[in-house]
Amino acid sequence: MIARQIAGKDLQLVFRNRRVMAVFVAVVLVMLGAVLIGAERTASFDRERGSALAADREVWLGQGARNPHSAAHFSRYAFKPLPALASFDPGTVDYAGLAVWMEAHRRNPATFRYAESAGASSTFESLSPAWVLQALVPLLIALALFPSYAGEREDGTLRQLLGTGVTAGAVFAGKLLAALRLLLLILLPLVALSVLAVMATDVDTHQPDPLLRTLCLVAVYGLYLLSFCLVAIGVSALSPHRRSAAIALFAFWFVFVVLVPRLAGDLALARTPQPDATEIANSLGEIGMAFWDSEELRESARQRAMDEYGVATVEDLPIDYAAYELQFSEEYADPLYAKVYRELNGVHAAQERTLSTLSIISPTLAVARLSAGLAGTDRAHHLAFTEEAELHRQEIIKQMNDDMMLNAGDAGYSYQSDPAFWEEIADFHGSLPPLSRFAGRYLWDVIALLAWLGAAFLFARTAVARAGDMERVR
């Protein structure tokens, strides 16, 4: 009962504070802007993807009679599908490529990074609903809650309250209830805006389990912001004045929301350096040529072909041997390409492990990773796209090699496929993977976030008990 009264009074004080209300309105307006920009951007990316896919198909089908291997060099593009939730949290979308060229002999990385042509400044964050929740709302919470205890102490009302026999625990419960109600009031319009925007975002590709993802996002941001509320209460309880509480909370925000995430990226790179692009490109180039440069490998291909078809010489083969060799070289290279990309992925995973470890220091890091993961815009989802594109590449290149192998006869490279054959080469539509595929990946971040919440609760509880003792001693 008393806790409810304390909570009611605290909320009333917050609502009376014009500064807090002005900042709240400003945050809602910024959120509205971020939501509109995010929805438009995602829809526009998807429109571009749709047009590029249609153009790619048209060019492919219209290439006329052509040698299939020549067509395999020209090949097709895989365009990355974007989830509607990208309008809430673009994650790594701007920094990961949008398309993969699925050409013969090579496994290419995703190219065309939006950040290169956007011209956004790299020091400042770009506006997104996720950024508003990760960076601005904690500041709003600090602004609303810094006088929670410190204000009462400064005004002498805390002493009065404790003097009437109210326990420190009841005061804490009241403050916590006020913080929870405040959090609900802040989150409600922001979440409503975000959900509406995501629902209104027009994208072609269906994202599996959107409700689960949205609920998880709400839970993650709820826990994250609740831990800020608890820290704010604890800091306020330990501060003799409003002034010191406000400064301490700002310092906390600056270090954990601004400084640590930026330093974390640098530290991750220092601990696990990024291999040089030229060296990786060289490795990929060498793999592409490995078969053709090795007489031993070419001989084993010849032997396998003769064994398969039960003939004594290559000339006796009932197929076009050049095409057989092309497919053999692809199958030889595929696992080697996979190894290079697996190693690169290992480097990136190690970098992200450093970030995960540092998320024990800054909950913002954990929340950013979880948020992008739940939105389907993190590196894991990007990787799923590139791997799906690679499987598609292997399939369509085999189709073209098989066409030449079975139908070229003696014509070899002069053989031209019928234009109708291009219809048989499937478009890459791409799919968005379900959340369950990555569930284990985010476990550490969930643990870090829960640990933060637990630590924040203990800190607030201890700070409040200490504050109560101090007031009684005074």
Binding site: S70, S117, A118, F124, P261, G265, R379
Partner: protein, 459 residues
Amino acid sequence: MTTILMKLEWLRLRRSLASRLVFAVALLSSLYAVWSGLHWKQAYLAGQALHETQIEERMQGWRTALADIESGKAESTPYDARPMDVRQAASHEPGELTHLAIGYRDIMPSRLTLGAWRNEISMVERYEFDNPLILSLGRFDFAFFLIVVLPVLMIALSFDVVASDLTSGRARLVLSNAVSLRQVIYARLLLRNGLLCGLVLLVLLVGFLFAEAAASEYLLWTGVCMSYMVFWFALIFCLVAASRQAEAVAARLLACWLVLIFAIPAVVDSAVQALNPPPSKLAHLSVARIAEAEAARQTAALTEGFLADHPDLSVGDEEVPGYYRGTFLANERVREYTAPTVADFRAAAEAREAGLSALQYLSPALLAQRALYRLAQADAAASRHFLDSAGTRLAEISELVGPAVISRNRISLQEYDQITPFDPETLPVGAGAVTGMAYLLALSLLLALASLRAGRNSI
């Protein structure tokens, strides 16, 4: 009296743990920023050297083969020393001061291979191997430290200079001498921020030790840094002089920091992008592929047309593979077809640049960042200029080797030796920095004048 005030302040600073902590954070984080930038630059240069060496070695072999064929030491083959294989490395050299402001350098393409096998899309070597999450977090370079971190440290050191004197009763004691409160505030703020900024400038000098820039670049860098510091000093002085409550001063200063450093740049960026969206790269790709496909279908007709336009050409070795000329013609067609979209990209980028140039005055942080990135040649304009220059050189190489490729001949050693190393001019860096400095200093002056007025009213 000012000297005495300064000495007193110096003593207080030495005794204050919080102040020492602020100085330690400033020293360590600025030194880390310089080290991090140097580390990045070292890796960047090593990668570039590898790329250039590979192409140089290859071209040395190509040149030797051509010399042998010309001198009759070796027989001509359809594959050796073909003009189609002439290639040149183009690297976007970092500026002397790029280690202090990495800017766009870690996301933009910087290593290209120019030659007839390539077009403006394929001339860029594969480079998208970085972790996109790390890229999205950005780098902790000196520019980030200066623009984002330093103002917070200045605020932490300054916000309570009046309030602490008033609450401790020291203000009354000091003011009983022939000195005004404004003089006290000024002296205290000047000493605190002067020492902090002096320390940062010393670290900047350490950063300069690893560069060989022109004197004017050092001066401009220092000038931009100092004028940004002066702006924050003036803003702090203005707000500290206007109120005696540390809480209010801190709240206002931090609000200014948040608005000037995060809110305005984020809104300006979003607005400029929304008003001038870049053309779709995927659409650009589609145009290039249409051109390639068309060229593949029309190789024979295009070859005939080319030869008709160059009646002086006699057809050389018929054994040279047909895909040499096919690829060359396809690349020529790609250049022709994509010219309008390339122009659109340029126009949109210029419009965005113009928008940012106009709106940068809303935020000193944005202004300083743009000036520093330009001085470090780490802005988007420097990358665009590099890519444009490389595109021009690619066209020059294609023009040189084109007739020989189509007619299945070779270029002469003399013609090959006429190809000069790729060394594009860098963009002029001074104008934006000087304007930025002048604006920041003018703003600081206005704030100082405002603080005089505010001081009269409140102190």
